[in-house]
Point group: C2
């Protein structure tokens, strides 16, 4: 049972002074005598006094809290982004509330409402793969609470965003496969609703075209990012009359699932089929062979998102327009494509 917590009034009464003076002493306000401050601080210490942030937030209309919404945080990507963002936000004196939606649109909407009700000062978001309607984020914008998207961004909202050059990353991945002799390159693509999926797919297509390789529709499969489906589609590709000699997957977990399937069928990697993933998940270096992958500057994504958010928050007059930062990727070559 929560007991009565000491307030400035308790301190004031015990010291026979007014609560304003206590408040001033506690907030290091200049207009307090050293002696009074000393007495207040001592008693506060003794009583285990802790300022009530709720009252302050209510009064000042700012919580110094930032909400971070992600679709999941089991894979390494989102936790790393969050840590990067926290570095920057902590520096600026902001706390962080993390919400994950388990890729559920409904949960995402609920989380957004909770964050709005608790009056966060800003929002950093990567939305679920189900999200088509962005009204729950638009409310923030309408209320003057800055929003920054990263990774999965809403193209229709005029807010700051941080992405990576997915197109270029995919292009160079495919280029690498072609240069190492592959010709039937399959692509396990993400949902068409996600801009980063589309960009990677476009990079794939343009690379094939650039090198004069005809795209085979049967080699491009868009799926829902679940490993169950990944498993099914990899098997499907391998069962084709003319199976692919390379596979480019939307992310590393999928690449690893593919690796498992391929190995279980007794095929050799990279001899029979090469694999390229995306994101450089630490796991991709640990499996055998290591997975060639497109690395993203994960922690920098978080830092930049936080920086863009702070830019909007400190911009009291709304003079700084939202910006989009696109970070570059890097191809990490491992044993899944070359010996």
């Amino acid at each position: 049972m929560q007991q009565h917590l000491p307030t400035i009034i308790d301190i004031a009464r015990q010291l026979g002074i007014s609560k304003s003076t206590v408040s001033r002493a506690l907030t290091a306000h200049p207009n307090v005598s050293a002696k009074t401050r000393q007495r207040v601080l001592e008693l506060a210490e003794q009583l285990d006094y802790q300022r009530n942030q709720l009252a302050i937030s209510l009064l000042t209309n700012q919580t110094r809290t930032i909400g971070i919404m992600v679709p999941e945080f089991i894979s390494f990507f989102f936790p790393k982004v969050i840590i990067g963002a926290q570095e920057v936000l902590a520096e600026a004196g902001y706390n962080v509330v993390i919400c994950h939606s388990n890729e559920s649109y409904e949960t995402e909407v609920e989380n957004a409402k909770a964050l709005l009700a608790s009056r966060v000062d800003g929002l950093i978001v990567s939305h679920t793969k189900e999200t088509r309607n962005f009204d729950h984020f638009r409310i923030f914008q309408r209320k003057g609470v800055p929003v920054v998207f990263f990774n999965r961004v809403c193209e229709d909202m005029n807010v700051s965003k941080v992405t990576v050059n997915d197109y270029d990353g995919a292009f160079r991945a495919i280029e690498h496969l072609i240069q190492t002799g592959r010709r039937r390159i399959a692509h396990l693509a993400g949902p068409d609703s996600l801009p980063n999926s589309r960009n990677r797919l476009n990079g794939y297509r343009d690379a094939l075209r650039h090198y004069g390789i005809a795209e085979e529709p049967e080699l491009v499969i868009s799926y829902d990012l679940t490993l169950e489906k990944a498993n099914i589609y990899v098997n499907h590709l391998l069962n084709l009359p003319q199976p692919p000699d390379a596979l480019f997957t939307i992310n590393d977990p999928t690449a690893i699932e593919a690796l498992k399937v391929i190995k279980s069928r007794g095929l050799r990697i990279p001899d029979d089929i090469a694999i390229v993933g995306f994101s450089n998940d630490p796991i991709s270096a640990l499996v055998e062979p290591g997975i060639t992958t497109v690395s993203q500057p994960v922690s920098e994504i978080g830092q930049q998102a936080a920086a863009l958010l702070m830019e909007q928050i400190t911009d009291k007059d709304n003079t700084v327009p939202p910006r989009t930062i696109v970070l570059e990727t890097q191809l990490i070559i491992r044993g899944s494509t070359v010996h």
Copy 2:
């Protein structure tokens, strides 16, 4: 720039009624006419009205928010625990604030202060490996805010706890190694300050004793859980005049680090040396060979911790004493110990 958000007063004024009535309509209080409620709800919807949780929390002295503090959340363990806890807490109508300390005691203390200031209704904690002083948690207890520990627990505090049977898990891991013919079994142990490290070490020792194998002091190394040190100590063990024929590590990341070192030296696993980890990190199934490991019911740890916390929070009269739940582990046998 944050603009003025609509309040019940705005609604009251526009409707020409009092704010009390608006409040009643919004909170589904019985004493409001259906028509009035209807009008209020409509206008609220139209204005995008969102209750100010800060004001409510200040008034009711409860935030319906639970703080979860973990030392890190890059590995799969803590995120999974958090998700498990969230399931239970969401069900009970509680929100969650997640803090990670990066294994830094200082950050942990700061986070605790921030959570106290923001008046969380309860705390779920796994502390850093540096934490020796638990005063920052005792404050919560003293203030009547329930605390539940999991995984890394403070033995001196009389609060609810969730752990696994580390002793038994370790015992059976060593038993398995002995039964598969190993005799020089090394143990890379965690810091002596962590009870779960000590319990695993004791399980290791008792298993050796039980099977009449003398413990070799040179085969037991306590270290700080960093992979750099793990690397050094694995090399050290392999350089011994009589190297071990098995290695039991405090966790799976360490086991995988060991696996890398061992393979890079051209030794065969499990023929030359066997490895057993702890926790059943998904990665341990993906490396080659798969790592034999002691599985913990991760998500259940979170669920139980949340349940114990709710038990304390709902116990208004302080009649329910804190409880400790010890969950059982399971030995998962893979290629790192047997063919």
